[in-house]
Symmetry: C2
């Protein structure tokens, strides 16, 4: 007998997030040895050596449960970002806090707003909690904040915003943010996902953590998976008022963040030189990619992240597959309604040269 | 302005799971140096050294996302337990899979059945998803399976069962299980949580993994946090039919299990000698505790786990607090409706001697 009929109807229609192809999966399938993964916006430099050392020191004590309150990491985040520790929620990656926020504030019959081309986790979360997903058309591939504000109805509970956005790399400034927040009702929670904040270069960036004091209905999320290089550990956090955080923490699994992630986060925060180096390498290597793409007569969406969303001017999936055979993993974004684009993460110099050479060969063979 | 009014009503009433007091929290508060934590049913032997070695080998690659499909670990679980890998769901601890199951099959208006004194995560999950929690009175502190079956209504979607149960240690046998499953409708999902299965000594234990082939509406959950000693990593899994697993996997966050837990699980499964030793030490040390408790004229609920739920014959909270001042952390279970009991995890010989001496002193001082 099939269990179809007793699964929740919202879940039956759910399509899970498509992850980047893991390196060992490609090795298994194609028997390749030289593989460059430019698919998941990871930090190509790895993580700080301080993180490795801190983890080694606790590996023999891993039979104990983690500190469910995350005391030491919350203290470190609180000090580094000058935030009230009572307003923090730690997550198993920022995906976890984004989902917890959805489950705290929205349910069946409620509306959740996000942008066309917005990060996939917003629509997946809205669907999984049985809420109505309201996708607002983008403007130049970016968030049309005023249109999003105009989409608010009495049923709206949450607005998810990514700045910069993934997979497009688009980013808005302080003026647009101020205008948006001035019209959003204070009964709607605004979730500002700043996973790529460390890479931003535009001087008028609206830093969410600085904005928290102004808006009790603002929740800012950050991740350690990108510039801090801790994707494999799973660590992110949300910052909000103490009251909002206390509600989200009720829904949180008591041990959602593992002990190594807690220790890695403290060590990673302490090594800001590593973050600066990662950001510098990203800037230099992104320029290399842009030069190569120009020579290939390809255009890209201007990006404030650690990736470029490139217009291949034809269906991108065959190019993605041809690149796999060359040992280069990038990310198709057809599921985002961008079937002609590929998202390319900025790697190390060696990985980028591999990627550029492979892309050049693949395009020549078409 | 308070956000009270726009938090989901089910969440407003939620009381989060109370975790065991972490060792460093006690150190901070009381300035103690000798601390024995007998509070969270952890493995007092730590974890297999193979786990430590396997983790060290990947620490420098942690900037990459985990394999979201958990290919290697699912293969290892599949081989070790002789299960179809397609029927597996990996979780960030078994708490994660228990919650994912709830979110897949039950929502507002549905009923979720569990036993009085049943593991707290069942009622928390039912509440968080807005379902109606139906608690069935226990029989001799254990699950009254026939009463639970009798509580099924057309609205029942899930029955959570722990065997052995935490915090009581009670365990039922094959005959009771067979009788129960013969009357539960096949449209109700039965979740059999076997977190403590490795410690069971009763010969007529109904091993859930063996039962899977009989019942398409059965989901068995297992953890690596107890006998395998991986609590700090966060790792558990559910086993069911491939169809049921595919639905639960849709709700799962794509990277819910971190890279170190994936590797630790494979290494831990390969070292069954470690598990055998942990089980043997538990048996021997539990006998020591039982002897000491008898001498203190205290009784306990017969336990098939790695802990004893002890009747203090008076309000247990003051005894818990006096033990903290002695550097011994045990678990009060008043929130389970057992205000006179304390749950004591079986530790190493040294920890148990510390616990027994401290308890003796505390009881004498009352």
């Amino acid at each position: 007998m099939s269990c179809d009929s007793f699964v929740l109807s919202a879940i039956r229609g759910l399509t899970p997030y498509q992850t980047g192809k893991p390196i060992d999966a490609l090795q298994r399938e194609f028997g390749l040895t030289r593989i460059s993964k430019l698919a998941s916006n990871e930090n190509p430099l790895g993580c700080s050596f301080e993180v490795v050392t801190a983890c080694q020191a606790i590996l023999e004590g891993m039979a104990r449960y983690p500190d469910g309150a995350g005391f030491a990491l919350k203290s470190a985040i609180s000090q580094h970002f000058k935030l009230d520790a009572a307003g923090l929620v730690l997550g198993n990656g920022s995906n976890d806090v984004l989902e917890l926020i959805g489950r705290t504030f929205a349910g069946a019959g409620d509306e959740v707003i996000f942008s066309q081309y917005g990060f996939a986790v917003y629509s997946i979360t809205a669907q999984a909690i049985g809420a109505t997903a309201v996708q607002v058309p983008a403007k130049d591939y970016g968030h049309d904040l005023m249109a999003m504000a105009a989409a608010v109805t009495p049923k709206t509970k949450l607005i998810y915003i990514a700045n910069p956005n993934n997979p497009t790399g688009t980013c808005f400034g302080q003026t647009e943010w101020d205008a948006f927040m001035s019209v959003v009702p204070s009964t709607v929670m605004v979730v500002l996902d700043e996973a790529y904040t460390e890479y931003v270069t535009r001087p008028d960036y609206a830093d969410g953590l600085r904005e928290l004091a102004k808006y009790p209905n603002l929740i800012v999320t950050r991740t350690f998976s990108k510039a801090y290089g801790l994707a494999g550990f799973r660590l992110g956090f949300a910052a909000a008022t103490a009251e909002v955080a206390s509600y989200i923490n009720r829904v949180r699994q008591p041990f959602n963040v593992n002990s190594l992630a807690l220790v890695a986060g403290v060590a990673a925060l302490a090594d800001q030189d590593f973050v600066k180096e990662a950001v510098a390498v990203n800037k230099k290597e992104m320029a290399l990619w842009q030069q190569a793409l120009s020579m290939l007569n390809l255009s890209w969406i201007p990006s404030q992240g650690n990736f470029l969303c490139v217009d291949m001017q034809r269906p991108a999936l065959p190019i993605y597959e041809a690149l796999l055979r060359e040992g280069v993993i990038v990310r198709p974004v057809g599921a985002y309604g961008l079937p002609n684009h590929l998202r390319i993460s900025i790697g190390t110099d060696e990985e980028n040269m591999h990627g550029i050479e492979a892309l050049t060969r693949v395009l020549q063979s078409l």
